[in-house]
Symmetry: C2
Subunit: 330 residues, 2 copies
């Protein structure tokens, strides 16, 4: 891929717990791997972080949204880094945006400067969870919209299917997150949404439980952003708890310590399969451009993975596929 606006990824250098250091380091990795990046932020802080004789284009801006700023303050701050990133995509100067700053701020900036696609009332955050069968399930909404009407959930299903398709899944199966698989299970929202989903041109498998989704029952799992966020944090918390309790038990005996030493390779490969870093981040779906929301705690590897993820979805034609699905699929 040659450099230029056609493949250029605009990266918010100022968003993230360890910005701009981790962001610049990740961008350097990505450029070395062949990606075309433009960094957006405070040039005086970014430039000193470049390795010797290494240059990445910078679009300078003074303003940046902090984690303490309310997402709505983004409205008045047209020149802040996360908004500049979106403006570069809107103006055709870049093909995708990456930010590891506040998800709320990124969402507001994307809606303001990129806008939503025809038929997508609100964007959703899509994340990818590992499945036991080695596959992946796309979960959306992961936190952008806490209260959703059934029509919005149906729209998320359409967007999720477009994302699954450009990720290489043929005829993605759509599941509606519920507390039981039987028809009629679920809360009022779920019971109103399932028939609506079935009325779309989608391969709907029905209600799916979190356990079922992780076992491979569907490729796209639809829910509102409140429940989706709870699901992800429950999974994250459970894994952290389990790993920490396991570590405690391992350290109790010398045989455990030796065993753990022998297993260090397996633990490492395992971590690569389940951790955030490797997957890049979440994707905003429904906006007029590819937007990757990296993890706030992103390190250089995670930033590089987020840039690669943005590039992949641009090349695969994610936005065109969403538009096509939105106009024909419902």
């Amino acid at each position: 891929m040659g450099p230029g606006p056609l493949t250029r990824i605009a990266v918010d250098a100022m968003g993230g717990d360890d910005a701009p250091t981790a962001i610049v380091a990740g961008a350097v990795q990505a450029v070395r791997a062949g990606h075309d990046v433009v960094l957006v932020g405070d040039e005086a802080r970014i430039r000193p972080l470049f390795p010797r004789r290494f240059e990445i284009p910078i679009v300078h801006t003074d303003d940046a949204i902090g984690m303490g700023d309310s997402p709505s303050s983004v409205r008045r701050r047209e020149a802040c880094s996360v908004r500049c990133v979106m403006q570069l995509v809107r103006d055709g100067e870049a093909r995708a945006a990456v930010s590891c700053g506040s998800t709320g701020a990124t969402l507001v900036a994307a809606v303001l400067d990129l806008g939503t696609l025809e038929g997508a009332e609100r964007p959703a955050i899509a994340t990818v969870m590992p499945r036991r069968d080695g596959g992946r399930v796309i979960l959306l909404d992961a936190g952008a919209n806490v209260d959703c009407r059934p029509e919005l959930l149906a729209c998320f299903a359409v967007l999720g299917v477009a994302y699954a398709e450009v990720s290489g899944v043929q005829r993605p199966r759509v599941g509606l997150l519920s507390n039981g698989t039987e028809e009629g299970k679920g809360n009022m929202q779920v019971r109103a949404t399932l028939p609506l989903l079935r009325s779309h041109d989608l391969d709907v498998v029905g209600n799916v439980e979190p356990t079922g989704a992780m076992e491979g029952e569907c490729d796209v799992l639809v829910c509102d952003g409140f429940v989706g966020n709870i699901l992800l944090k429950a999974a994250e918390g459970a894994v952290t708890t389990v790993v920490s309790l396991l570590r405690e038990e391992i350290r109790r005996r010398p045989s455990g310590v030796l065993g753990a030493f022998l297993l260090r390779g397996a633990f490492k490969r395992f971590r690569r399969r389940v951790e955030w870093d490797a997957h890049g981040g979440a994707l905003l779906l429904g906006t007029r451009g590819v937007v990757v929301v990296g993890h706030g705690r992103a390190n250089a590897n995670a930033v590089a993975a987020a840039i690669a993820m943005a590039e992949r979805n641009v090349s695969a034609g994610l936005v065109a596929r969403m538009e096509e699905r939105l106009s024909s699929g419902r």
Copy 2:
């Protein structure tokens, strides 16, 4: 503790995937450990499962609810085993009820035959999750009520606090499950519930995320049954996925297999800390009697643990504490 109605636990011998075999085996374990049990179900199927020269009192009934029966069919089937179990408690013939059958059926039977406590409009299902700090967090509702008004969630908080108190927690801290800790986070339901919780005589820590709860931010975590069920199944699914992926990685190299062998003790102790079996099951809160809902896949150990759990909560005066809390705490 001597036998007799004062400590007798009524166990539904016919509920559960492996009933009556696993249930009777668990009851035998429990009796040998000093518990006083009465089995309810088909005598002709139960009796042959007793070990030689071993007797447990049986209350015979022909009818039993299958996993395929709708919970509402329980209404017409007054003589089914799960209803008999509740009737024994109602009539003072037993002090607590245990069933590993359908949760919905157990709930309906408890409401019909035991009834709810004054001030508890609907019962909730309370489960216990391990925390990273070695403590436990009580989660409710885990699945009994999918759509809840704020008043009902506040009632669950009161019931959960009573349960935490009889479990030995002093001044239990109450968290409201949300997708962020800041005031104002959450969906409409959460935003309406938090001020109501604060108006009660409870130690409310505010909004709590699943990760925060598992790290020890609260002792009682309140949510509706839809979200609570999703949380539990997400945690369960994540742990299963992670353990299965880890096992795969371990098996790839001979050093991994040896390492795993050295770690088998640690894995075993770890399993005991996180698995269902050891904890006995979920507790119905808000009914006029202690009701333990064992896991449908319960084996003998899990059944024995469920009986011990029922006994523990009877001895600790759970029902009286709930009544006290319901009348004074709000």
